[in-house]
Amino acid sequence: MIAELVLATLFGLLLLGIHRKVIARIQRRPGPPVWQEILHAAKFSFKTTWVPATASRVLFIGIVLVAIGIWTAAFFVMMTGGSLLVIFGIYMLHKIVEHAFGLSSGSPYGKFGGVRSVISAASEIPLFVSVAAIALFTGSLTLSDIIAWQEVHGPLLIIAFPAAIAMYLVLLSKMPFGPFSIVEAKELVSGYKTEHFGVWRAGLEVCNGLKTTVLLATFLLLFVGQLPLLWMVIGMVIITVSLSFACALTPMLSPFDSVTIQSLFTGVMLVYAGIVFLGVAA
């Protein structure tokens, strides 16, 4: 499973490269090669590195380890068909990790990025409702049970379409250059990761690659079910390309608008979950 862990990281970075390439082509730019993010990670890992004088040394380095560690844990939970709550608990934890990244450096850009990551926690609220709707339909929060339920009743993508849309919105909020990417807005340079350069940034790239693979694979497992490996890969590429279209054609929202739209969507999802609950209870 260690080989799978490394491959998942590289594949996630490749997906992020495809994401950049598709956005560039939509905007009529040549764009970088699709393996650019893998090269980025390698390039950063070779660079001269140090810890800035203003940084909290323990937090500055430790948070990179935590970032990789939590998504390694999420990868194992996904691979073993474990609890959905653990995966989304880790997703929530990632917000705190982003916050710690920003605060550890002592740079105002990093701090603002960290603060915005807390604001953008609004993107997690549709996720809760999505998880609740899945639990109401399947009667379980274990990934293996949800997959087994879909083998009998059909994919949740059709049965619980609004829940799939809600999680798609969550995926969108995690993609770079998207309408909800307020933590990495250009006015903050690189946001929470501004001061993490060299080896530390390479570590963050490893985390991003793993996170992308885990989130996209979890989406497919939750709403389509267990697929052969080749179809999983094709499915993840298709979702990435669709997210790239959404990112390329939508301007980045201001922090206030980002939170407002996500809160409005949460309201709609709450109504949907209420209807599902009443239907299940009846």
């Binding site: 499973m1 862990l5 890992s45 070779f46 800035p52 990179v64 990789i68 844990a73």
Partner: protein, 66 residues
Amino acid sequence: MQRSAGMLVAMGVLACSTAFALHWSGWIPVWVFAAIVVLAFPPTVLGLFLWWMADEGEEDIPFIGY
């Protein structure tokens, strides 16, 4: 730095390999194997990067506002 990073990588690889071997032979359950890898994988990756990176630089003060 390079020597300590190399040691870190060696220990991480040893921990992951041992955990894999023990899990494969049925000595430890999958969650123990996963816990060991979750703890060992991040320092192994960072250790590897610190081992092969260019020379360590002098720490500096980033832009801290006007």
